[in-house]
Symmetry: C2
């Protein structure tokens, strides 16, 4: 089978690629070719695999070629993140809406030429939820909570969920949308997402650096490890649509934790000196965005697929530390550890 | 003030235009100019008014000119209907999504040049609701019921609701979305909407013609008169966003009636001979679409704006008959009446 991962050079995309390559099959079909489309190059460890082909460049410009080619399966992860979309409205529309439309139309064109509808998993987001005057946010948002996005990013994700459901209803693709929780601990540098600090307040202290927490310790949020996220994406891909429970977006499992609880976990895993590298300096802009996010999630439909959240936030931190230790240049990421 | 009505040549648009012209003001501001943009020409009775300017042609091609001009207010009613969108997927995307994007970007460009954000009322639809494996449709759908569209038309309406909410959140427009119920009795000929028969089974018998009902008498549906619909659109325009209850789509009031109840009302108003002109000939295609619609609606938010449904379906029929009697060529529409 031929598989496409958009955003395949990114953090989640490259971890997903690694998992699929290691399994060697998807949904019972042998993996023959894996195309990683991204603006950035995927890690060399992936491109060394003869099954992998990297396509570097904007996704919308690639869609015509993707359309000619046709794919059996797609993980559509490429996206401009929340902070970018708030800063540049047109960029968000182009990257998240127009590009998804172009991708869906490319897949639809392949189906029109007689190919079986490509199976597609879309990485939606818990950012589809927000409080609204007509619908206050419940303490934990569920699969069936009324989405009311409070960012352009969340708006785009929700819109794409519904486009994918409609293209699927028409038989052009076989699409499903999994709502990702905030993945932490992301390696590397802060990105443009307003949620970036959820990784930064763990990652920077572990690397021996100071970190700024822009919101209060009481802020609660649904969090997940990258491993659980990849596991969720694969399960949603491989399940029948009946088992997924239809085409509406499905919440992946999360550990619902407060910032204070995250730091307690950091102290338990890495010691007080590490925790003490986090300073609270409120950023009104980020606090306002985060204040509109859900404080936690339930994931009944994902549970029926056998998916489970990480055991607790400590285990998410331990997973990150283990990943760093495995990584060839991961030592620097842990130089704050005693 | 300058007002734009897209779809201003259509049934609801021209009735809305008539109402605004008769009032001479909107939201306390004097109506100076009313632009009716549509693919079809508005009734001559409207264009005779010196305040009215008709712009005939596809809306997307008009957006550049609309952008240069700027408007204080917009009712965005133009849309490809459900049957058209099911028959021609690209037409639906173009007419309902791309055109709305172009309109919103035109209004945003005007705001960017320093104009006050235009107030916009979008005619969404009860078609945003549908049954879903993960969210069965309640007997009556409310403002807060989880939308799960089962047509491309409903998908587009829901997507536009969220785009409009996001453009509003950013301050580019001041938009609100009112979900129209099925407006009946529409005059003229059947249109491409799957709901067309809800008018046809009343209109044709009153004109002395046979009508085919493609679904069973037990089918229940939320119905409204055009007068109540126009009243609702105006109220949603004039209310503060706090009074509207936010930017999420709001259900306009409806009479929830079965097809059998509609025909009982027809008999009560017009006699048994008129009712007997309706024959039941099932159309599987229409029955399948209608089977996915809500059986009725509640409208708590509209109620808080003081909006009420028609008293009953009989009064909807009587309103249609009165409209025909007022219309210069309405006699033919009633020649089936004894």
């Amino acid at each position: 089978m031929k598989l496409l991962i958009t955003g395949g050079g990114g953090f989640i995309g490259s971890r997903l690629a690694r998992a699929v390559l290691a399994r060697g099959e998807l949904g019972g079909a042998k993996l023959e070719r894996l195309v990683l489309a991204d603006q950035v190059a995927p890690p060399e460890a992936l491109t060394r695999d003869p099954r992998v082909e990297a396509r570097i460049g904007p996704l919308d410009a690639q869609c015509e070629a993707l359309c000619r080619e046709g794919f059996d399966g797609v993980f559509h992860l490429a996206s401009a993140v929340s902070g970018e979309c708030e800063a540049d409205f047109d960029l968000g529309l182009r990257s998240n809406l127009d590009t998804t439309r172009a991708l869906l139309d490319a897949l639809r064109a392949a189906t029109g030429r007689g190919a079986a509808p490509a199976k597609l998993v879309f990485s939606s987001s818990v950012a589809v939820f927000g409080p609204d005057p007509s619908a206050p946010l419940p303490d934990l948002v569920g699969d069936g909570t009324l989405p009311a996005p409070k960012t352009s990013y969340g708006t785009h994700k929700l819109i794409c969920e519904h486009l994918i459901a409609d293209y699927s209803r028409k038989g052009y693709i076989d699409g499903r949308s999994a709502r990702l929780m905030t993945v932490t601990v992301r390696p590397g540098r802060p990105n443009g997402a307003a949620s970036s600090f959820f990784s930064g307040i763990i990652r920077e202290p572990l690397a021996g650096e100071e970190a700024i927490c822009p919101v209060s310790a009481e802020v609660s949020h649904p969090l997940t490890s990258v491993a659980r996220t990849v596991e969720g994406l694969l399960a949603v891909y491989e399940a029948s649509i009946d088992a997924v429970g239809g085409r509406l977006g499905l919440n992946l499992p999360a550990v619902n934790a407060t910032v204070g609880g995250m730091l307690d976990a950091l102290e338990a895993v890495a010691g007080k000196a590490v925790r003490d590298r986090v300073r609270f300096v409120r950023d009104e802009n980020i606090a306002r965005i985060v204040g509109n996010w859900s404080r936690g999630c339930t994931s009944v439909r994902a549970g029926k697929l056998g998916l489970r959240a990480d055991a607790d936030f400590e285990s998410i931190i331990r997973q990150y530390i283990a990943d760093c230790r495995e990584s060839p240049n991961g030592a620097a990421a842990l130089k704050g550890l005693a």
